[in-house]
Amino acid sequence: MRRFLSFRDFDWFLLGLVLLLCTISVLEIYSATLHTKYIGFHTKQIFWILGGLAAMFLFSKIDYHKLLDFVPWIYGVFFFALLAVPVIGHKALGARRWIKIGPMLFQPSEWFKLVLILAVARYFANLGGRNLTWKEIFKAFAMVGIPMLLVLKQPDLGTSLTYLPILVAGLFLGGINLRQSLILIVAGLVLIGGAWSSGKLLKPYQKARLTSFIDPNNDPKGAGYQLKQSLIAVGSGGIWGKGAAKGTQTQGDFLPIPHADFIFAALGEEHGFVGAFFVLLLYFSILMRLIQNAQTAADLSGSLVIMGAVAVLTFQIAVNVGMVIGFMPVTGIPLPLMSYGGSSVLFTFLALGAAMNVRMRRFVN
């Protein structure tokens, strides 16, 4: 048993995979914004990545046990920040999601993902992996569900949905049994159906966005139009793609926001099936490596922290790529490590930092 930490225990292999993905991201952002008013965003993305790396190293230095000890307090603070958003929030693009601190815009809902990963890990680690009672399950639901509703009201459907996989992973790994999960699934379906038809929870445009993927021709201007352009972009890429900066859909301004939510479509158009396959393989390797780290973690709480991060990343990849290829509705969830955007990059690196944190302490007890 060692009592000291060394960066030799840092997961350099994982970091290498991540940086390879980041390089592809910067190149694709450069290509996708070449002829738009967003030109130059790839350099901003480089700064975000560098900032993310620094944050990751810093974050991995703090012992996650200490973080888990403090997590109820952190949860409380961020919960109040979420409550404060509708009151003192800064409004942009029709939604109130930000709190202005000095010149910085701070988005509590984005940070809350990280807090939830830690809080859920702590909660189920304390239960110790035995069979859960209904009371314990409902507590977990309240812990995740109430912030979810607050974020949904902002309105920010995409971010609030990313809280869900954290809960699902926690319940699954924390010891829910088959009967309980079946009951929950049925109850969930009924609830979603009720919420959908009541029309209170979702705004009409959110509903339209959610359904348009079933029949994109139904809505050639709004979300359906975006989806259709995305399908044309990906499909016309073929096996080998049209070449960097040569995608007609991407360069011709047909593809909506090709550097952010639809970056995978731009990639699929310009680098074809081969390029898309390679990127998915990278994601798969990263996720598998993370799960391996969860297996070797020193204790249950560490494993649960990593698996929380795995759950969020997997969910984001599935929903974003699924959206681009027409399997999923348009929800505005970015592709981690690929899409342009400071908060997405920062969150992903911090989640990876939490995983690194656990790995570095796998021999310490």
Partner: protein, 688 residues
């Protein structure tokens, strides 16, 4: 509660982790199968769609809101126009087509090539505007050559039509294509290159309301750019029409009165800050901007030494000259110094070892004479008594050295020296001798015409200062109203409490300035029967000394601020003539504008001034309009006769001049001049 240490030996069941791994593998395979379906199986189909079935968005441009004056006279209109664009995506070999295009559109071939070169770095999908406002013949040419020249595209738009000859151009502003720098500003976040936005004046401030929302037409084009149909049209939402506070008649009078002189005129209602006229000379023709302005015209505008693009009413910062003496008087009265101050003017006086000159030998005078005579010696002495910081305090109270908050872009703040200012900018103690010059509005003090007008009319309104504005805010959406207030910060509406004697003395002094009398500076601007008050200013320019050569660059700037009536004025006007020599000249310009206002009011009340009949004789007033039309409904003639003080003879009124002067501050004509008799008789209803 620290985390349970007991559970530290617990591990995740390996089986569950393996299940998760298989779950992720399954998801990846599903995504890959989706990609396979699109990119391998459907590649040919989608490639065809990408090539052939491209949807091109053709903008449907929104008409900008029209501008009206306060009486709903149309000021700025739109007219339909067609512009021609070149789509580069469709060009196979541009150089071959260019001569034909140039010939058909009556363009210079070299100029056309230069335009294309300018857009070389722009994104490929962006259409290049090659000619705007094309004629019917040229439209026909494009239609006739649809197949040979598919790269030409016409767009119908509504183009701005401004008044000719630069009428009110600085207030209205102009529109133009958005610049590269503007595109990076947050408030233009939703704009694209090529959008037309307001660039100055009301057009800029109220651009978000005026511009409306562009619609679009989704045109399906084949790979050669030929239209094969269109999906649907989203109609444009036209911009909101705006009613300005401007009065077209007053504006016209002001433009005519200022004539060819360089300078500015602003007329305002000091009760609410509504701008009735705003002139800045020399002017420019905003119509030249609405079609792309050509380079030589633009160069002429920006190199003209008289700065035609500058809105002098709010951007010209100059020494206020003697008009500043009103602020000095207010400071002196409020501080209790001026009431008792009596100065012997012997053509000047010595202060701090230097002789400061006055225009006349005014003799022994007090504040009541010093204002109309504009005696420098008196105000030198007052300035010395008050000291620079007291003067600065009161000037700042009255809005000098702060923006007024008028809703026009790029207002300047002016400058008021003080010991603090001197220390901050020159790191030295303020030289007390400079205070003497400040006392007569010279020295470092700089004001804009707008500031001066607001300050002086504010003092005449018993310290009630207003935020000037050119658009009535009642017609604005509440949120936008707040945005305007936030974007144009300034000293705004404020009340500076004045002592009654301050108010009386200063207003009477200004009224005396325009009445004939020895050394009264604006006596030539006297308007018989109108309670007209004002103050002249002859501000020497730097290096100018005492030269009075009309129009020369060393000639003093001529100021005048005038208002009617003297107390609680309802109309105030500032006139600035750059290098216009004496302020009394500006007073004559102000007189014409005030007369235009007074006559307009008379006309509105059916009370136009006939030829002069003699000031003291009773004047007969026509019975037609005074008998029935003005009487409140439901009142019998008998009641009316009883309640009316005037004698009623067979349908004719004879009105005697009232010999006793009475001050009715709220009325325009409180003085017993003959004009008073022409006011329509109003039969007051009796309340038992």
């Amino acid at each position: 509660m620290p985390i349970d240490r007991i559970n530290r030996d617990e591990k995740l069941p390996a089986l569950k982790l393996v299940a998760v791994q298989y779950g992720i593998l399954l998801m990846m395979l599903a995504l890959l199968s989706g990609l396979w379906r699109l990119q391998v199986l459907g590649a040919e189909n989608y490639r065809l769609q990408a090539e052939q079935n491209r949807i091109r968005k053709v903008p449907v441009l929104a008409a900008r809101g029209k501008l009206f004056d306060r009486e709903n006279h149309l000021l700025v209109d739109n007219y339909p126009s067609v512009s021609c664009f070149l789509l580069r995506e469709q060009i196979r070999n541009a150089d071959i087509d260019l001569p034909l295009i140039a010939k058909g559109l009556n363009l210079d071939l070299e100029q056309l090539q230069a335009t294309l070169r300018r857009y070389k770095t722009a994104p490929g999908y962006q259409p290049i505007p090659i000619k705007q406002d094309i004629s019917a013949d040229e439209t026909a040419f494009i239609e006739a050559h649809r197949n040979e020249l598919p790269e030409l595209e016409t767009i119908d738009e509504e183009r701005r039509l401004y008044p000719r000859d630069g009428f009110a151009s600085h207030l209205i502003g102009y529109v133009g294509e958005i610049s590269e720098e503007d595109l990076n500003l947050p408030r233009f976040a939703y704009n694209e290159p090529g959008d037309v936005v307001g660039k100055a004046g009301v057009e800029e401030t109220y651009d978000p309301l005026l511009r409306g929302e562009d619609g679009s037409r989704d045109v399906i084009v084949d790979s050669h750019g030929r239209e094969v149909g269109y999906l649907r049209t989203q109609h444009a939402t036209p911009g909101q029409d705006l009613k300005l506070t401007l009065d077209i008649d007053i504006q016209r009078a002001a433009e005519l009165a200022l004539g060819a002189a360089n300078g500015a005129v602003v007329a305002m209602d000091p009760r609410n800050g509504e701008i009735l006229a705003l002139v800045s000379h020399p002017s420019y023709d905003p119509n030249a901007f609405s079609v792309r302005i050509n380079r030589t015209d633009w160069n002429n505008l920006i190199t003209n030494p008289n700065h035609p693009l500058m809105n002098k009413a709010i951007q010209d910062q100059l020494a206020p000259g003697s008009t500043f003496k009103i602020i000095m008087s207010a400071a002196g009265m409020q501080e209790g110094v001026a009431q008792t101050l009596r100065v012997n003017c012997a053509g000047g006086g010595s202060f701090y070892g230097r002789f400061f000159k006055c225009d006349h030998h005014h003799g022994s005078i007090d504040i009541h004479e010093a204002i109309p005579m504009s005696c420098d010696t008196y105000f030198y002495t007052l300035a010395q008594r008050l000291g620079i910081d007291t003067i600065a305090k009161w000037a700042t109270n009255f809005g000098i050295s702060q923006k007024t908050g008028i809703d026009l872009p790029d207002e300047k703040a002016g400058l008021m020296p003080s010991t603090q200012w001197e220390m901050k900018n020159f790191h030295q103690k303020y030289y007390a001798g400079n205070t003497i010059s400040v006392g007569i509005g010279q020295g470092e003090t700089q004001v804009t015409p707008m500031q001066l007008l607001r300050a002086l009319s504010g003092i005449a309104s018993n310290g009630h200062l207003v935020r000037p504005h050119v658009v009535d805010s009642n017609q604005l959406p509440a949120q936008f109203r707040q945005t305007v207030l936030d974007n144009f910060p300034g000293s705004g509406d404020r009340d500076v409490p004045l002592q009654p004697d301050t108010w009386m003395t200063i207003t009477d002094g200004m009224a005396a300035a325009t009445t004939p009398g020895l050394y009264h500076t604006a006596e030539a601007a006297h308007i018989e029967g109108v309670d007209f008050a004002g103050k002249t200013g002859t501000a020497q320019v730097v290096g100018g000394g005492d030269t009075h050569t009309k129009g020369g660059s060393h000639t003093p700037n001529a100021w005048f601020v005038g208002m009617v009536p003297r107390r609680n004025p309802e109309f105030a006007v500032v006139v600035l003539q750059e290098h216009g020599d004496w302020g009394s000249g500006s007073a004559l310009i102000a007189q014409k504008i005030v007369l235009a206002y007074v006559n307009k009011k008379r006309k509105a009340e059916g009370n136009l001034q006939p030829d002069r009949a003699g000031a003291d004789k009773p004047v007969e007033v026509g019975a037609i309009w005074s008998e029935s039309s003005t009487r409140p409904r439901g009142q019998s003639q008998k009641d009316a006769a009883r309640s009316a003080p005037e004698a009623l003879h067979a349908g004719h009124f004879f009105v005697q001049p009232d010999p006793t002067p009475k001050v009715v501050a709220s009325s325009l004509f409180p003085w017993p001049g003959w004009f008073t008799h022409y006011q329509p008789l109003r039969f007051k209803e009796k309340h038992p």
